[in-house]
Symmetry: C2
Subunit: 416 residues, 2 copies
């Protein structure tokens, strides 16, 4: 096998082709394999059809030394992966008495008798090793090739556990996995193209480093990988990237800005409240997506109707009347009102025109004001955003969190 072993992923399920169902298993498997030094060259999605699955395996075997396939291992009539793989490589299927016994026992525990169909899950492909399924009943299977073939169930939690606990350790033990060195930078406040332009000099100086840039609303991820060049070159490229991006880097780990802000607040023993208009709770929901956030988040006010900006937060009616609900003054008053009324150290506010309606002269769709009130005063920031309603709202939330990150003195991305 070459240094960068090629890998193929096969994802099985008619719903992925007919109903617009988005596949998250395939990307998770591909990313995990890339993280182990494999080069994922192809992903094939097919429906629950024996002939189509067999054909996918034959195509994959022609392109890769490792095939990981997901789905079609359950007990029902449309679970056809076992038969299809056996057929593709002219192998037999043999019912394993051990797995059969385990299935009977599992049903027995619940006071049920296993239907005959359940024992199909005990059919092992000739030469395959069964893989334990910690979260479900369908075992996986692994064939030592070439090509090496691993079959995992399509239920995400079952797939994840089997991939990380059964398959990757075996690939490492076999010497097939060779994790490349890798650095990740999470960036905010810049668009993908701006981030790319800023770091270009560093990337041009280090052609041995493979960069990847990914964008989500309000968040850019830059990954540097080094297969061939040494650790020293990766470290040097990372240092240059750090210098070029400065405090636009909010983390050097796989985490969102809400996690970073939470950690900073927890470290300082400070609390946060929110006052939201156009995002209407999205900022609060984002902050509390982090488990344990009750340690730093107190709560918030959603003042979608303008009179509630006064009633719940004390924003003076004449501020809204003269400056408008989407204005620096209103954003400041919302943050200050939330800080006092919810007794928090800091308060963030968001008010804007998320669209598609609601724009007006001087207040176009995408105009958003965010503000941060704290013990050392209040700051505010105007955003002029583009995109769909959902994108404008998500960007606004991340921008607000970034205001707090920078206030908390988190400059630069040196992981803690």
């Amino acid at each position: 096998m070459t240094r960068h072993a090629e890998a193929a992923i096969i994802v099985i399920g008619t719903e992925l082709l007919h109903e617009g169902r988005v596949d998250t298993n395939g990307p998770a498997i591909a990313a995990a394999l890339a993280g182990e030094g494999f080069d994922p060259v192809i992903k094939i999605t097919v429906g629950d059809d024996t002939e189509a699955i067999s054909a996918a395996f034959r195509v994959a075997a022609g392109r890769a030394g490792l095939i990981v396939a997901c789905g079609g291992l359950g007990p029902t009539f449309d679970d056809l992966t076992r038969e299809a793989v056996a057929g593709a490589f002219s192998l037999g299927l043999k019912r394993s008495p051990e797995i059969r016994g385990a299935i009977m026992k599992m049903y027995g525990k619940r006071g049920l008798v296993a239907p005959e169909s359940a024992f199909r899950m005990a059919d092992l492909i000739e030469g395959a090793e069964a893989l334990a399924n910690r979260h479900g009943s369908a075992p996986g299977q692994m064939l030592h090739g070439p090509p090496t073939i691993a079959l995992v169930p399509g239920v995400p939690v079952e797939m994840e556990a089997m991939l990380h606990e059964e398959i990757l350790p075996r690939l490492r033990a076999l010497g097939l996995a060779r994790p490349p060195a890798r650095r990740i930078f999470r960036i905010t406040g810049l668009f993908e193209s701006q981030a790319e332009q800023r770091v270009r000099p560093a990337l041009e100086r280090h052609p041995g480093i493979q960069p990847t840039i990914l964008a989500a609303p309000g968040q850019v991820t830059l990954i540097l990988r080094s297969h061939e060049s040494g650790a020293a070159e990766l470290a040097s490229a990372a240092d240059e990237v750090r210098a070029l991006l400065g405090d636009a880097i909010f983390s050097e780990a796989e985490e969102g800005i809400e996690t970073v802000v939470g950690r900073l607040l927890a470290a300082e023993g400070k609390s946060l409240a929110t006052a939201e208009s156009c995002t209407a709770g999205m900022l609060g929901a984002m902050i509390t997506s982090v488990a344990g956030s009750s340690a730093w988040y107190r709560g918030g006010v959603i003042c979608y109707a303008d009179d509630l900006k006064g009633g719940l937060l004390g924003v003076p009616a004449d501020v809204i009347g003269e400056k408008g609900a989407v204005s620096e003054e209103t954003a400041r008053a919302m943050a200050e009102g939330a800080r006092v009324r919810l007794s928090s150290d800091f308060a963030l506010s968001v008010t804007g025109v998320a669209g598609p309606g609601g724009g007006g002269p001087g207040k176009p769709v995408g105009l958003v004001w965010i503000a941060l009130a704290g013990p050392d005063g209040t700051s505010a920031c105007e955003l002029r955003l583009g995109g769909a309603r959902s994108v404008i709202r998500e960007l606004s939330c991340r921008a607000a969190l970034d205001l707090l990150r920078l206030r908390l003195g988190h400059a630069g991305g040196h992981a803690g």
Copy 2:
């Protein structure tokens, strides 16, 4: 071409294989083609590599009469789809003077000179028709086969417009598209397996109808399709499904429960407020994901810290002390407090243990109380949910909205 023409989708982009980036273009294309009566039999994802793209087209051409490929049509060095398709089918590439002129003009308008690389977008595959790109600069291409091949850009908004405005109309005009009759049911309050069990008798009586069931947290979608059998059989199956599911059906269109509830509130001229603890704004954000929601949503209170349940909503301290923050009494008091303090006709509340921490004796992770206060009184409902923190929170929000839907007298799923 057979009645159900087979279609293949090819998605191009290294980031989809290396970084765990989830592909939404492929599913959108597949679903659109299925909606036009095609049978999407395979989707192949490959990186930005000419040989790999060519190979994918050859595999696809062996399995389908229609190939739609997405990505790799831009001007940069890693946009290789044009060359790869030409290579796969031994066709030439010819630079179109018209497209070249349009590119020069487009750059000129912004006061820029087009770089030489931009003109690669004018390279048409021999025999191909250029497809207009209303949202970007890279035109698509269509080759009249067999196989019929359509190339679209990877930027989602560009892909969507080109697919629906350029490609599908051409496929219909050619007589290749044959939309099947279709009914959709959006269901809440039942798990996927429960919904399936309930409708099974109807499906067994109508074997000519193809059913599909899809699940998301708190929402099941049932689709019935009729290719072969007539409109009468589909209507009869739909009537039976409607009778079996009753008011578990919240819509017979492609819309979420937040849209249905918004429409019901708007129709009655009633307003809504929210009081959230464990969901911390997710319910408000969900309600306001519907454009125009300011017509019925007033705002809400996020009382994540227990003292705010008293301070902002007037929940008596002894209720929280004796019954706990996660209790029927607290949920009721939160909803009633929000209704009064935010001056709304209705108010929904959510308080629960979303996990992973925070559970306790008698209050396990997944225990959630929701309540609805309205002009005719307050009702409450206990949920015992499983799954990840994010799933428990999303389920709670949808269950709360369903409480209001049923209160508003929306029984049965007859679309308005």
